[in-house]
């Protein structure tokens, strides 16, 4: 198992390198050069050329790619913002914890509210509670998260004046962003958990447990749920990635000073080092989350563990 963990970690590094390559290459094709955006209209062609030269964007693709990969992955230098002249990494240091916290809280809520709701629905299948919660879940997955954010601002900030609509001064500032990031995840999770549990209810080994005289409570908590929840937990990795990606838009709604807003400013200001740095960081966190969940999955499901270890059935 340890060998497998090591392998996965190494592969993660490779993946991140590839992601960096991908990001750089895609953005290489953005039309226009920094000089066109950052210098005034009166600048001469010569001035523009020199400006670009200083930034290194006149060099051939390979050279720029090499420089980028080296800087990013060896020196951990994400470049300097064209616009603000501040190293991207420095700014990210401030912002990443905020976005990461947002994403993490969202996942925690996702797991601790979504999963029990799904289980409850499955246990009371087709009863009123099930119908009600499933309708709510359906609404939850159908609402654009940023629209929900807007509506919450409308209700809680404008009409009720309970919560502040932007900024990050106090813990109240976090409430609405967190809710906006979580709702869709909770709804999706509740539905998936419900399906997983319903599948397990029909399983043969559940009948076997009953036939052994296992009391119903233990049938559910010792036999059914451990099996049903395994695939659900595995989905949480992907859910984290989606939550992180979702923060981009939601942060703009709330002017929440996280990575997402920074990236948007970068996009609008053609500040490409910023964009590259942000996307890389967000993708990295998403990949790490998926890896962690995959490894946990390997620990809790002996069949997968066997697969990971390269073992198999021996008769």
């Amino acid at each position: 198992m340890k060998k497998y963990v090591l392998q996965r970690c190494l592969w993660l590094i490779v993946v991140l390198l590839c992601v960096g390559f991908l990001i750089f290459t895609v953005m290489y094709f953005v039309p226009g050069k920094p000089a066109d955006v950052l210098l005034t209209a009166e600048a001469t062609a010569q001035e523009k050329y020199e400006f670009n030269q200083k930034l290194g964007v006149n060099d051939p693709y390979i050279v720029q790619l090499g420089r980028y990969m080296y800087n990013t992955f060896i020196k951990f230098d994400f470049g300097t913002s064209y616009v603000y002249r501040v190293p991207v990494l420095q700014e990210l240091n401030n912002r990443v914890p905020r976005t990461l916290t947002l994403g993490t809280i969202a996942i925690v809520i996702n797991a601790f509210i979504g999963i029990p709701l799904g289980v409850a629905c499955a246990m009371h299948q087709n009863k009123p509670l099930d119908h009600l919660l499933m309708i709510l879940a359906m609404a939850g997955i159908s609402m654009p998260d940023f629209w929900l954010a807007l509506m919450m601002i409308l209700l809680f900030s404008v009409k009720l004046k309970w919560l502040p609509p932007f900024g990050i001064g106090s813990w109240q500032n976090w409430i609405m962003p967190v809710i906006a990031c979580s709702v869709q995840g909770v709804a999706v999770n509740a539905r998936q958990t419900r399906s997983a549990v319903l599948e397990t209810i029909r399983a043969d080994f559940v009948t076997t447990a009953r036939a052994k005289g296992v009391p119903e409570h233990d049938v559910i908590y010792k036999h059914m749920l451990p099996n049903a929840l395994i695939p659900v937990i595995n989905m949480l990795g992907g859910a984290f990635g989606r939550a992180i990606a979702g923060t981009v838009v939601i942060e703009t709604v709330f002017s929440f000073p996280g990575v997402g807003v920074y990236m948007m400013n970068g996009i609008n200001g053609r500040d490409y080092p910023v964009v590259r740095g942000c996307v890389l960081v967000l993708a990295a966190f998403s990949a790490v989350a998926v890896l962690i969940v995959d490894l946990i999955y390997g620990f809790i499901d002996p069949r997968i563990k066997a697969q990971y270890e390269g073992g198999g059935a021996h008769k």
Partner: protein
Amino acid sequence: MTEMAAGAVKPRKKESYTRMVMKRLLTNPTAAIGLVILAIIILVSVFAPFLTKYSPNDIDYTLVYAAPSAAHPFGCDALGRDMLTRLMYGGRYSLTLGFTAALVGAVIGVSIGLVAGYAGGMTDMIVMRIMDVWSSIPGMLLAILISTTMGAGFGNTILAMTVGGIPGGVRGTRAMCLKEREMEYLEAERAQNCSTVRILFKHLMPNVISPTIVGTTMSIGGTIMGAAGLAYIGLGIQPPNPEWGSMLSEGRSVITTHPYVILFPGLCIAATVLCINMFGDGLRDALDPRLKK
């Protein structure tokens, strides 16, 4: 000769299967309601010119942010344009974007998945490694990246939304292929020297189709919302096109004074996605052979 015999039997079986699915689908109240409302939304979008006397670009500076009234049931926006009209026309963008991106993504994803799943070995490994990298970047992020590079606009948005959905389709299809590969009927076909392409399309695909259809339907909602999100942050469909997401971004600035500007576009998105999801749920239940009430 076995093939001919199989062919002779199949149409009859398939017909009753399709009919059974249709019956199940239409007797499911949520699915039926979803389908009906979706049809209405589609029809309204298509026939918008006949349903409203305004054009979505009729600027009228006297009606800036006019409140809902008899003449303008949903009010007017920052340039005095009738909201209802803009919403109707806006449906075209969201619906087209959503369906196209999901469909194209599914076709590409399934094709790649079939090849990888069936071929196995080196091909499979390479494809999966590429998918690993591809899916490390969350879909929305990838869409933003592509939109930033290629610029905004209708076509680029479709591209952006399609790209994010492909790894999912590939993984799912490949998983199903791996399962089916073990099954004996493929051995039987191979024993009859069926060509690879033929095996792929005639035999593997039908079995893979049902979950794919369901998955694609469910992803349409996500695509629509994603496209709206892109427009909201300024990357998707650009103004003055009446796309629902960009209408929402316009409303952000007047949320305190004219809240209805953000209410209606969002409702439209939510309603459309809701109907699609309701229908998708019903479809999944109808196609599931084991499901009993």
